[in-house]
């Protein structure tokens, strides 16, 4: 079968077609075990700048990734071709790589297809495939951009941004009968409004394109650009900051790869010797929950194991880590086994083999007992900085979790409960541990999207003593 047969006659690769391809791969393989991942989809992105659509793209691409195992040796090969010759070639490539590996004593057999004895099933997730999103046309995206440009023109601003829609699939089959399949749609709108010496920004995404409101986002971004015009320079130092959800997301995203068991085994985690410790403020409670209504993604991991709902942080204490199957077995045999709490596969592994092990990718913050809106936080602030968005965040110190980065696209001085003026952007050098220990108020968690981390359900935060170290020139 060629790709054109399934993409143009059957619309999109589906579980049944993938099952047929998997059976062909099994026939071509001489390995003891075979695991096949399917991925890909259709995506389109309309990009605008200077009040013009200047780039406008669409893509359709599907791939199949074959992992073979001979005893304790395994390797992977990937192709985006589905004809017999290509499938034979990818199987051969995987087997050739696998056969020359050194045996890995920690390699486990592929998981069985029936509900595993050693893993708990997760709750069912809501459907994340919306036909309205999948059917969005270039003309519809252009019309939305036209409305955004009209908002910019009304305020004598210029606008830049993107409007994208996509449908994607993930599937996994293995030679012990496991077969998992997930499809979803996604849509995203990001808008920057630029004045002569200021800018504002808003971004949103959802599986359902109907949830995006171009005019509302454009209005907020424009308002930020107008209100931050002719920014003042104020000195760096420690300030009370009000971080909008996108800014929170881009900061806290830097710690979740450390919540994997393999990060502890590798001694590269800031949670080395800290699992169980009260690291953050009492008001911080964080879950990984793929079934949350505002989350997205597949309900299984890179080996097809159902994702559990896991509480990572409970009342400020590091409660649990997440585990791939192999990591859990290694941890149980390690010197750290008594120090890391419950050890079991949680369905957060990456496709095998890999270097990183696992990570929680569906982060949800618990609501505060007394959630405050950003406006209420501003109203209760004597002097502080309101941050719309952060940029170019990098880790400076991996154990104290000091991050550096810049504010961007809407940074304001708050005085006596009111936004007073836009200010020149700051560089920060801030420990995440200290930041999450100094959260004074939080908003209601919302699905947020930034640029440095994956999407999460996070609140706005009012944080004491946030450490700005330098000021830039705009």
């Amino acid at each position: 079968m060629t790709r054109s047969e399934f993409s143009y006659q059957c619309y999109m690769l589906n579980k049944e077609t993938a099952g047929d391809i998997f059976e062909r791969i099994i026939r071509y393989s001489t390995a003891d075990e075979v695991e096949v991942l399917f991925f890909g989809g259709k995506s389109a992105l309309t990009r605008f700048a200077n009040n013009t659509i200047h780039q406008n793209v669409a893509e359709e691409n599907y791939g199949v990734s074959v992992r073979t195992a001979f005893g304790q040796k395994t390797a992977r090969a990937t192709t985006n071709k589905f004809d017999d010759e290509s499938l034979k070639r990818v199987v051969q490539a995987s087997e050739n790589l696998a056969k020359v590996q050194h045996p890995d004593a920690d390699l486990l057999p592929v998981p069985a297809g029936l509900p595993g004895e050693r893993v708990r099933a997760t709750a069912a997730i809501p459907s994340r495939h919306l036909e309205l999103t999948a059917a969005t046309t270039p003309e519809q995206r252009a019309e939305a951009v036209k409305k955004i440009v009209a908002v910019a023109a009304k305020h004598n601003l210029t606008t830049a941004g993107i409007f994208s829609t996509a449908e994607s699939l993930e599937g996994i089959f293995n030679s012990r009968g496991l077969a998992q399949w997930h499809t979803q749609t996604s849509s995203e709108l990001s808008i920057t409004m630029l004045g002569s010496n200021s800018s504002g920004w808003q971004k949103a995404n959802s599986p359902n394109v109907a949830n995006l409101d171009p005019l509302k986002l454009a209005d907020i971004a424009a308002q930020k650009a107008l209100e931050s015009a002719s920014p003042l320079e104020i000195p760096p130092g420690k300030y009370t900051v009000i971080l909008e959800p996108a800014a929170v997301l881009d900061l806290v995203g830097f710690m979740f790869f450390d919540f994997g068991g393999l990060a502890i085994l590798d001694q590269r985690s800031f949670l080395n010797n800290r699992v169980g410790a009260k690291l953050f403020g009492e008001n911080i409670n964080i879950w990984d929950d793929v079934s949350h209504p505002q989350q997205s993604g597949a309900p299984f991991d890179g080996e097809g194991i159902p994702r559990q709902r896991v509480q990572l942080v409970e009342n400020g204490a590091v409660a649990r880590l997440v585990y791939a199957r192999s990591t859990a077995e290694q941890m149980k045999k390690s010197e750290y086994k008594e120090k890391v709490g419950l050890i079991e596969p949680t369905g957060h592994g990456f496709p095998v083999p890999n270097e990183m092990g696992e990570a929680p990718m569906n982060i949800v913050f618990d609501p505060s007992k007394e959630p405050k809106t950003v406006d209420q936080m501003i109203a209760g602030t004597e002097r502080g900085i309101l941050v719309t968005r952060l940029w170019y965040i990098r880790e400076v110190d991996p154990y104290e979790k000091i991050l550096t980065g810049m504010t961007r696209d809407g940074t304001f001085l708050v005085e006596n409960g009111k936004i007073r003026h836009g200010v020149l952007n700051f560089r920060f050098n801030q420990s995440l541990i200290h930041m999450l220990s100094n959260v004074e108020e939080m908003g209601t968690p919302v699905r947020a999207s930034g640029e440095e981390s994956f999407d999460m359900v996070v609140p706005a935060m009012k944080v004491q003593d946030f450490n700005f170290t330098e000021v830039t020139k705009f």
Binding site: S7, Y8, G40, L45, T46, R47, F48, A49, N51, T52, I53, H54, N56, V57, A58, E60, N61, G63, R76, T78, T79, N80, K81, A93, S94, L97, A98, V100, Q101, H102, T137, P138, R141, A142, V145, V149, T158, A160, S164, S190, T192, D266, Q267, R268, P353, W391, E395, V396, D397, Y399, E400, I402, T404, G405, M406, R408, N429, T469, K473, F474
Partner: protein, 488 residues
């Protein structure tokens, strides 16, 4: 492959495109890595497909598909035209391309050893030998090593008559040792962070890197950092090694000279640039010693920005970017060249692969070495007081490329021309033009290395691209250092 591309061009033209080009890409990659005595990743991948770029009704459209059957290719081209017509609903001006002579050409990265013909078993053995050597140093808690090969074959055909077949090879290799104790994690990498050194070469790169010879030193330095004194905070003269200077060039010269950023096309994500058009041939970017070029030609070396033609068929060129300290050039494309009064593109439009729209990317943005013989050790010997910093650890710069902060893996205090003590957590920060104007010495050709930055992100959807940066150790006067770690 030309007949497949012609299906796309014919369809696009029939549907109303005033310009069309098609790129068919066939890519192959191999990634091998080890961690703490085991193979952590062993994978091969291949990808093939077509991307069709058109102008219709004065606006751009682009569509890509992994399906090279005739029905799919024609459908993809038709979709590109449909998208372009949708784009034209929101436009200020029609797209105009700078003229470029259409050529038929073949170009291939000169390599000595095809990396895909080398033994996987022997390569894994090499990585495990490195791994074992790193972990033989007491105090090393994590060892990682990697080797990567990439081959990209591309056919570019345009409605103007271009027909270019180009094959590029990239090889990368390196390793890192980590040491965790108490409340800190230290790291040393070789020959650079970001997976080591990357160049457009064959397997000969791996053989040239002296990987085994440096294992012991790298492991020992990672552990020694745990007990080293912390980099002091204050204003110092600093000397940067060539790899760190390469990244400094990338962030504070390479990105701000991208003309699409300057023109606002990247404002929503990558940002804009302080190098507004009025600054060309007027701004004193650096000291007289600063000479930086954007050079994609093979003569410049096997950098990740070396090629025969860019992804809209423009031959590789050398553009002077900073000449004796004066800002003299941007990175441009056929669409943007007219904005700087150029009658031809600078040849910098590149795409991550067949499925991505080509955008302006750095080629090899390199600082030229000093004319007078000067080694790194001579440079240190000529420095009364300062800090020598080596190998990048963290990097950050604002979205107009003014304010930057870099952290390095290791530093050494210099007193009276000698390294007197190792320093942990060295960092420095500044404002781009102030920094480059403070450069008062740069080493000569023997110390110059064409480094590869393999994972530069830009564009929406984001594309990852390799860029090259030739650099030699250089000294900068009165730089703010050591403040990054005050994050509590």
């Amino acid at each position: 492959m030309k007949h497949i591309a012609d299906w796309a061009l014919n369809t696009a033209t029939l549907r109303g495109a005033s310009y069309a080009d098609a790129r068919i890409g066939d890519e192959r990659s191999r990634a091998l890595s080890t961690k703490n005595g085991k193979v952590s990743s062993a994978s091969d991948s291949e990808s093939r497909g077509i991307g069709v770029r058109v102008i219709a009704d004065g606006a751009w459209g682009y569509a890509a598909s992994d399906d090279l059957s005739r029905v799919a290719v024609e459908s993809t081209a038709a979709r590109a035209v449909e998208i372009a017509k949708a784009s034209s609903r929101v436009k200020q001006h029609d797209i105009q391309l700078a003229p470029e002579k259409a050529v038929s050409a073949e170009w291939t990265t000169p390599i000595q050893i095809d990396p895909f013909t080398t033994s996987v078993e022997q390569n894994i053995d090499l990585l495990l030998k490195i791994d074992s050597g790193l972990r033989s140093v007491a105090g090393v808690t994590l060892a990682e090593a990697n080797m990567n090969f990439h081959r990209e074959e591309q056919w570019f055909v345009s409605s103007e008559g271009a027909n270019i077949h180009q094959t590029k090879y990239t090889t990368g290799a390196g390793y890192a040792a980590y040491a965790f104790a108490g409340s800190e994690i230290q790291k040393r990498s070789y020959p650079n962070s970001f997976g080591g050194q990357w160049q457009n070469k064959g397997y000969e790169l791996v053989q040239e890197l002296k990987l085994i010879e440096n294992v012991r030193r790298v492991g020992e330095e990672a552990v020694a950092l745990l007990k080293a004194d912390r980099c002091p905070e204050g204003v110092f003269d600093i000397i940067l090694d060539a790899s760190q200077l390469g990244l400094q060039i990338h962030e504070s010269v390479g990105h701000p000279i991208e003309l699409d950023r300057v023109l606002g096309m990247e404002a929503n994500f990558a940002g804009t640039s302080f190098l507004t058009l009025d600054k060309l041939r007027k701004l004193r970017y650096g000291s007289d010693l600063v000479n930086i070029v954007a050079d994609a030609r093979q003569d410049h070396g096997p950098g990740l920005g070396t090629f025969g033609f860019d992804d809209e068929g423009v031959p590789a060129q050398c553009t002077p970017i900073i000449t004796n300290g004066l800002f003299t050039g941007y990175l441009s494309s056929r669409e943007t060249a007219h904005t700087i009064g150029a009658n031809r593109s600078g040849g910098t439009l590149r795409a991550e692969g067949w499925n991505r729209l080509p955008i302006i990317r750095m080629t090899n943005i390199s600082i030229l070495p000093g004319d007078k013989p000067l080694t790194r050790e001579q440079l240190i010997a000529s420095t009364e007081s300062g800090i020598y910093m080596e190998t990048n650890r963290s990097w950050s710069i604002d979205d107009k490329r003014y304010n930057f902060q870099f952290g390095c893996e290791a530093g050494w205090e210099i007193k009276n021309g000698k390294r007197v003590r190792m320093l942990k957590n060295p960092s420095y920060s500044g404002i781009t033009t102030e920094f480059w104007n403070s450069m008062d010495a740069i080493c000569s050709r023997d110390e110059w290395v064409l480094w590869g930055t393999p994972h530069c992100g830009k564009g929406q959807p984001q594309q990852v691209m390799g860029t090259g940066h030739g650099a030699a150790p250089a000294r900068f006067r009165n730089i703010k250092a050591g403040s990054a770690y005050k994050g509590n």
